[in-house]
């Protein structure tokens, strides 16, 4: 009994545990928010960014769904990373993602039916969201569970804040409202002309293009 405790102590002294929020770990969360953003820098996940950003409410629900899926699939894959046979790893990743996405979709259907009707197919399409699989393949397969959760959070929020900004502008100019609150009517501008282009996916391309421009000017990222 006593010898065992001594051994453990020795191990701890030899290799001190990395702080819960060390610089490296903060980097894992922070990088995808700006310098290595999945949408504006890596240009992944554009398809859903276009489809669900007409209004802010569905965008928020979609963001939560994606963050949930990406964090938990990262965690699960990371826990299994030494068990997964290399030859079938992609299909294993897909199976895990698909299960989580189906769970999200079923829960939405049970408790948030109106949103389920709006998002319906797009929640299902998280399965093919390149960001999720990209993180599993690039990070979770080779890193420890806790780091993988952080990475999932970083990428998830990196995706979420961009689509939220896109949705903000699209709803503001396309429907003249924010979170279904008619903002222009509230300030007495009843005749605000809503812009039909913003409601269309083309509007999303334009907002996203401007965002990418601003972001890359700020970070100085150049595509090679």
């Amino acid at each position: 009994m006593s010898t065992e405790t001594v051994e453990v102590k020795e191990k701890v002294e030899k290799k001190p545990a990395e702080p819960l929020f060390s610089k490296r770990r903060r980097g894992i969360v922070k990088d995808p928010l700006s310098d290595d953003n999945p949408i504006t820098i890596q240009v992944l996940g554009i398809c859903s960014a276009l489809a669900i950003t007409i209004k802010m409410e569905p965008t928020i629900v979609m963001s939560i769904a994606v963050i949930f899926v990406i964090v938990f699939s990262n965690l699960i894959i990371s826990l299994m990373r030494n068990l997964i046979p290399g030859r079938v790893r992609i299909i294993v990743q897909l199976a895990v993602i698909a299960t989580l996405v189906t769970l999200v979709s079923e829960v939405l259907k049970a408790y948030y039916y109106d949103m389920y009707k709006v998002l319906g197919a797009f929640v299902g399409l998280i399965i093919t969201n390149c960001i999720v699989m990209g993180r599993l393949e690039a990070f979770a397969m080779g890193n420890k569970p806790y780091d993988s959760i952080l990475d999932g959070l970083g990428s998830g929020f990196g995706y979420a804040w961009i689509i939220m900004v896109v949705a903000f502008f699209r709803e503001l100019f396309g429907s003249g409202s924010i979170l279904n609150f008619k903002i222009f009517e509230a300030i007495g501008w009843d005749t605000f002309p809503t812009n039909g282009l913003m409601v269309d996916s083309i509007g999303a391309f334009m907002v996203l293009g401007v965002l990418i421009w601003v972001q890359r000017t700020k970070t100085g990222y150049v595509e090679h």
């Binding site: 046979p85 290399g86 079938v88 189906t102 079923e106 829960v107 049970a110 039916y113």
Partner: protein, 249 residues
């Protein structure tokens, strides 16, 4: 790391069983809540076609209002009331899927009819569900007719994939409001109500509503749907009119 084929097969099988098991559990566990949501959604649409329920937020209030106000029957293509299916099971109008029936031949379909009663128990309005094809995918609707089975009291459309800002406008109050007060019969002949091409048309008759600019195809789908289903319900209309509304009260 290279693993043996046996390992891969066992790994895949175990993973499939675990994931599949989780999904089945979730599906079974969430079924009651989902069914309730779907029921609420249907009842909201039926009530919404007759009255403004946008201020009622509590789901239970909507359900109790529905139970209080609405009775339902199912009729066949001849307008006769159907109470049980071929196996003798009771048919409930709210459970009849209009979408599934749409695939059958007109004469074999079941047609639910919802009757909205006023305080004295007299049928004040009828609500008829309908289903059809829009530009990209299905569209559906509930049309509410006044007790005379001629004047449109309200209409509620739904759609799956129509373009936001164009065809999807059929779900907006703006478009649905255009149908209110229009009539479907002209001198005893069923003529339905049709949406015309283009927007801002003047001189519309009692059987026409203004169109949606940029969504002519969706408008045509809506017209086809209305014409088809009002035609299907016509035997029921005739029956109610000839029986002087007695049988249903």
């Amino acid at each position: 790391m290279q693993r043996s084929n046996t390992y891969i097969i066992i790994f895949s099988a175990v993973l499939t069983i675990i994931l599949g098991g989780m999904l089945s559990l979730a599906s079974v566990g969430l079924k009651p809540a989902q069914d309730k949501q779907i029921e609420l959604d249907t009842k909201k649409k039926i009530l919404g076609a007759v009255m403004d329920i946008s201020n009622i937020k509590d789901p239970n209030e909507i359900l109790s209002l529905y139970d209080q106000k609405v009775t339902s029957i199912v009729v066949d293509a001849e307008g006769n009331t159907v109470e049980a299916d071929a196996k003798g099971n009771k048919i409930v109008a709210e459970k009849v899927s209009v979408q599934k029936n749409y695939r059958l031949d007109k004469s074999e379909r079941l047609y639910p009819v919802y009757m909205f009663k006023n305080e004295s128990g007299k049928t004040e309005a009828y609500v008829f569900p309908m289903f059809g094809a829009g530009l990209w995918d299905w569209i559906s609707g509930y049309i509410a007719l006044d007790g005379d089975l001629n004047t449109i009291r309200g209409i509620a459309f739904d759609h799956k994939q129509e373009t936001p800002g164009l065809g999807a406008r059929i779900t907006s109050q703006e478009i649905q409001g255009r149908y209110v007060g229009k009539t479907i019969f002209e001198a005893g002949e069923l003529v339905s109500v049709s949406m015309v091409k283009g927007e801002g048309n003047a001189g519309l008759t009692d059987h026409q509503v203004d169109g949606m600019s940029g969504a002519t195809m969706t408008g045509k789908g809506v017209n086809r749907m209305l014409e088809e289903y009002l035609g299907c319900y016509q035997p029921f209309f005739d029956k109610v009119k000839s029986e002087g509304n007695l049988a249903l009260n």
